[in-house]
Each structure stands twice: as structure tokens, then as C-alpha cells.
Amino acid sequence: MVLAELAAAQTTISTQTAISTGVDADAGLPFWEIRESGMSLRLVQRLPDQTRAFFLARGFARADVDLIAQGCVFQTIFKNTSQTDKPSVLEYNLRDWKVQVADAVRGLKTREDWAAQWAARGVPQPAKIAFEWALLPTRQVYNPGDYNWGMSVFDLPPDSHFDLEVIWQQYGSRHTAVLKNIHCAPDVSVEAELP
């Protein structure tokens, strides 16, 4: 796994923005990654069944869990790595990011969008709290060395492909990078067969 990641990174090391893909060593699932001076962002595919198990254990009903699990979920790791070189605060707002599927462009579904949906569906409070904190924050300010892990839900069917335009502010300017052809995990949930 590590060798595959190294090989992927090597092909892009000469450019200022390194975009790579490979298999995440911990999750054993595909990742898409941006590395630029002062930041790194990695999206790691999550299987729908992983997401189902996580949210069922936190008080969601099955129907609500399927809404999330079949919505193309990634574990997102966003870091301000500028402490190793030129320290600088990093800021982002998910509402600036763009999801492109074929010719259609739209925004991400954020914590606040989901909160309205959960309120309408009568989701219990402990489940709503777990969901809110499990998602990547909508807006965040990272000082050098800061980072978050959080789920991102792209609201696309399983097995979809999409491009993601990522936007952040650092070193006094706006930065943009595009991750191409990100793949939502297929849903291979299998019901147990009774003998």
C-alpha cells in the first residue's frame, strides 16, 4: 500500500499542487488527495455498510441511515501543514466548493442542510448530535498544525463519479485545486439468507 502511495506521489511531486490517488493504508480503500505548500486534503472512500453501521449504532432509524449511506460518503482529512515551512492560518467554507457530475455543477450538502432534514424527519437528539459532529465542519479556521477528520456526504448515488473543486484561503490568497473522477463506493449490501 505504501509503495503504491509513494509511486502515485512521485508522479506529481514536481508540480506545486500535488494531486494523487491510491489506496489508503489504514482504511484499505481508495483515496484522492491534494498536497500543496501549507495544506493537505485527503478524501477516503467509505463503504455504504460502514456508514450504516456507524449511524445505526448512534440512534438513527434504518430509513434515515440509508439516506446517508447511499449518499456517497467520504472520510475527509484536512490539515494545515504550514508549521513545517511558512506558518499561515488556513480557512475554508464548504459552501464555496463545487461538485461536478457530467455537465451539472452544484454545492455540497452541509451540516446545516442535513440538520433541517433531520428536524423534519423527527430524528432523535442523540443521533442528530452524533451526525453533526461526525461531519466535516462547514467552515473552519486552522492554525498551523491544526486539522480535522470528518465525513463529507456528496449526495450522489452509489458508484457515481464526480469532480470536486476545493477552495481555501491561505498566505493571503485564494487557492483552488480540482480532484478529478472521484468514485463513490458501490453499495454491495447483502441481506442475510435464511436457511
Binding site: 509513494l6 506521489a9 512521485q10 456507524f54 448512534r58 490539515k79 501543514t81 508549521q83 513545517t84 437528539q125 442523540p126 448530535i129 452524533a130 453533526e132 459532529w133 461526525a134 466535516l136 465542519p137 462547514t138 467552515r139 473552519q140 486552522y142 492554525n143 498551523p144 498544525g145 491544526d146 486539522y147 480535522n148 477528520w149 470528518g150
Partner: protein, 174 residues
């Protein structure tokens, strides 16, 4: 073959250097532009004991918001325990505030992680909102006057010597 091997060695060395640099440098303790009054709270621990922030006036408080399912929270908990062991005699207090879970979930977590400093329950996520946290884990450093001086987002190695030195520097001078 030799060329490929040399490339491999260079790449591995570069990766190891980068990894060690990140590990060493991630122990940042970002300081607020100016200290702000820490919101007081009253929360119970796993044994039902009540903890008020004001109980700890005169000490440095490391206030960590966390959840059992949060990978960076789990990652930093052992170093928090070691940091607490190293610094508690100096007047540095570690408080873990679990967000949105019940005592049973935390007890299950403690089967795998040895934590002896107080773990408090913020079941309805009221206190975390008062502190305007947006992501877990987030840790605040509160000085002996009850003011937030630092905010840390993401995990750290809390037994890091330089980090502990910085915390001790906030203690009243004898």
C-alpha cells in the same frame, strides 16, 4: 535496476524525512490573539461527581472536547493520560468533555484506553456550543485566571516536552 533502487531509496528517505518533520512539528499550541473569559460550566463525571470550571481557578486547565468514535480523539487520548501523569503535580488539570454520548459508551471506551483524569459528560452538546467548537477534537488551554489562552484543533502529543513546558509557563510564578 540500480537506478530504480536509487530512486526508491531517495523517495523513501524523502517520505521518512517528511513524516518525521510533520510528527515533530505538529505539537503546535496556537495562541489566541488575546485571552478571553472561559464560559463556566457544571458537568458530571462518570461517577456522578459534579465539576465546575470555577473549581479549577488558580490552575492551568487543558479542556478537551472529544467523542469515542472520533479517530483523532482516540489517537491523542493515551498522550493526554501521559501528559496528565507528568504535569498534575505542577497544578495542570486535564478535563475530557465527551460530546453527545452516555456513560456506558465511555465505559466501553475505557476498556481499551486507560484514562485516569476526569471525563465529563456533555450529553446534549450544550457546553461545546458555548465554546463555539466546530470540529472534534478541540482543546482549550485555560489559564489560572479562567481565561482561554490557546485553541488546538486536531490531536497533539500532549506529553511532548516543549508543549508541557509551554503549559507550565502559564502557571503562577512562585
Amino acid at each position: 535496476m540500480s537506478g530504480q533502487w536509487n530512486t526508491f531509496v531517495v523517495v523513501v528517505c524523502a517520505w521518512l524525512f517528511a513524516a518525521s518533520a510533520v510528527t515533530a512539528a505538529e505539537q503546535t499550541l496556537p495562541e489566541l490573539p488575546r485571552p478571553i473569559e472561559a464560559p463556566n460550566f457544571e458537568l458530571v463525571d462518570l461517577d456522578g461527581g459534579l465539576h465546575k470550571l470555577t473549581d479549577y481557578r488558580g490552575k492551568v486547565v487543558v479542556l478537551n472536547f472529544w467523542a469515542t468514535w472520533c479517530p483523532p480523539c482516540r489517537y491523542e487520548m493515551p498522550s493526554m493520560q501521559r501528559g496528565w501523569e507528568a504535569a498534575r503535580a505542577d497544578g495542570i488539570v486535564f478535563l475530557g468533555v465527551n460530546v453527545g454520548e452516555d456513560a456506558d459508551s465511555v465505559f466501553i471506551f475505557l476498556a481499551d484506553y486507560s484514562v485516569e483524569f476526569p471525563l465529563l459528560l456533555d450529553k446534549d452538546a450544550t457546553v461545546i456550543k458555548q465554546y463555539q467548537v466546530v470540529g472534534l477534537p478541540t482543546t482549550f488551554i485555560i489559564d489560572p485566571q479562567g481565561r482561554i489562552t490557546h485553541r488546538v484543533v486536531g490531536s497533539r502529543e500532549w506529553d511532548d516536552a516543549a508543549l508541557l513546558r509551554e503549559l507550565r509557563g502559564l502557571l503562577p510564578k512562585p
